[in-house]
């Protein structure tokens, strides 16, 4: 596969390295990084910085008997390795297992040619993550966003404002972006999506579709 051409910002890579991303954005970023040699290198560099900074911290005494406790714990039999819970589709880029499980268990048709598989929703903030599968040539109704919408393409491609977004590419859209992405004719397009708020449909079809898609 060719290298992705659309990347997260350096600050987002740093946020991933320092563990400051919410769950959905973390899933999307990790998926992109798994497909992108440049961002993987940037992440490793940032993690190496984290390692050096931890190493330089003044140590804090552990509790009395902490080492003995650890030595006792390592004598206990290790938890048996879990068999994989879901299979990685061969035509997707590599995704975390949680995404595969959602794809198998939660997938439902949302509209003709469109399926959705919710991954996680945070009741408090309204942030959510989901998979979206859209058939060849289908356009998503025109919409804009409240807050941020991160997408990593897992399979296929879509056309958005004159650009082709391909497998591994990461896009970040916010309220300044109003668009009507269209899947290319070659194949179905599967996207991993993390939003921190609901979409704002701009036309009637979108408003009709929204309750079904649940996005």
């Amino acid at each position: 596969m060719s290298n992705p051409t659309q990347h997260p910002t350096p600050e987002m890579i740093l946020d991933l390295a320092r563990g400051a991303l919410a769950h959905g954005p973390q899933l999307v970023l990790r998926t992109h990084v798994g497909a992108c040699a440049d961002c993987a290198a940037a992440l490793r560099l940032a993690e190496a910085v984290g390692g050096v900074l931890i190493d330089e911290l003044a140590p804090t005494d552990m509790a009395e008997g902490a080492l003995e406790k650890a030595l006792a714990a390592i004598d206990a039999p290790p938890p048996s390795p879990q068999p994989p819970k879901a299979k990685q589709p061969i035509d997707w880029i590599h995704v975390p297992e949680e995404v595969l499980v959602a794809a198998e268990r939660n997938r439902r048709w949302a509209a003709p040619g469109v399926w959705v598989a919710p991954i996680r929703r945070d009741g408090k903030s309204g942030a959510r993550s989901y998979l979206l599968g859209i058939g060849p040539g289908i356009a998503v109704p025109r919409h804009t966003h409240r807050g941020s919408e991160l997408i990593c393409v897992l399979k296929g491609a879509f056309e958005d404002r004159g650009e082709i977004v391909r497998a591994g590419d990461l896009t970040d859209s916010d309220e300044r972006v109003e668009h009507r992405p269209r899947v290319t004719m070659d194949s179905e397009c599967v996207c991993l999506v993390a939003v921190d708020h609901a979409l704002v449909p701009r036309d009637l079809i979108g408003r009709l579709m929204q309750p079904f898609v649940g996005i």
């Binding site: 400051a20 490793r44 993690e47 190496a48 931890i54 140590p59 804090t60 290790p78 938890p79 879990q82």
Partner: protein
């Protein structure tokens, strides 16, 4: 005894022959530092202690997965500690127990991401020392906080754009200095 190469050998000794004295040495160095890291991130003392324990237990269990060609020991241990902390935060938020966070699948990284061999740790350290102090400060603060950059900016009394550009400059400079570790 305390450089990255010997820590890497200790992790290798755990993987190869369940070497408990190697584990004890790693524990002695890293557990108290992971505890400091957790405290810096706002964990209460007991949780910081537990997370430091859990981090080192994960080192024991996963020693076979450590690849010194891909990461320095401190890098690897940092990612384990970070992942455990994220998992605890998530469990607390959702009020539910969850299985071993360190088992979260990591997507396989592209092979040429193996840019930091064990020996590179010293280079990362000295590269950090060359950063202008104001850049080093925001890098340090951001690793010892899980707050958004906007809150880090507020705490420093700086505009968000300034914090972001300092971080960007710092990471860019580190990459320029260390980029030849590629390959």
């Amino acid at each position: 005894m305390t450089d990255g190469a010997s820590f890497a050998e200790m992790i290798g000794a755990i993987a190869a022959r369940s070497d408990k004295s190697a584990f004890a040495a790693l524990f002695g160095h890293f557990a108290p530092r992971v505890k400091s890291y957790m405290l810096r991130l706002g964990a209460p003392p007991q949780l910081a202690e537990d997370l430091a324990q859990e981090t080192l237990l994960t080192v024991w269990r996963k020693a076979g997965a450590f690849d010194p060609g891909k990461a320095a020991p401190s890098t690897w241990i940092f990612t384990i500690a970070r992942n455990l902390r994220i998992d605890v935060a998530r469990r607390q938020q959702r009020g539910e127990p969850a299985p071993d966070a360190s088992d979260e699948p990591e997507p396989d990284l592209a092979p040429d991401a193996a840019l930091l061999a064990t020996q590179s740790e010293a280079r990362v350290r000295s590269a950090l020392l060359t950063l202008p102090p104001e850049q080093a400060e925001v890098v340090r603060l951001s690793f010892f906080s899980d707050r958004p950059h906007s809150e880090i900016a507020e705490a420093l009394g700086l505009p968000l754009g300034t914090v972001k550009s300092r971080l960007r400059l710092a990471m860019g400079r580190l990459r320029d200095l260390l980029g030849d570790l590629h390959e």
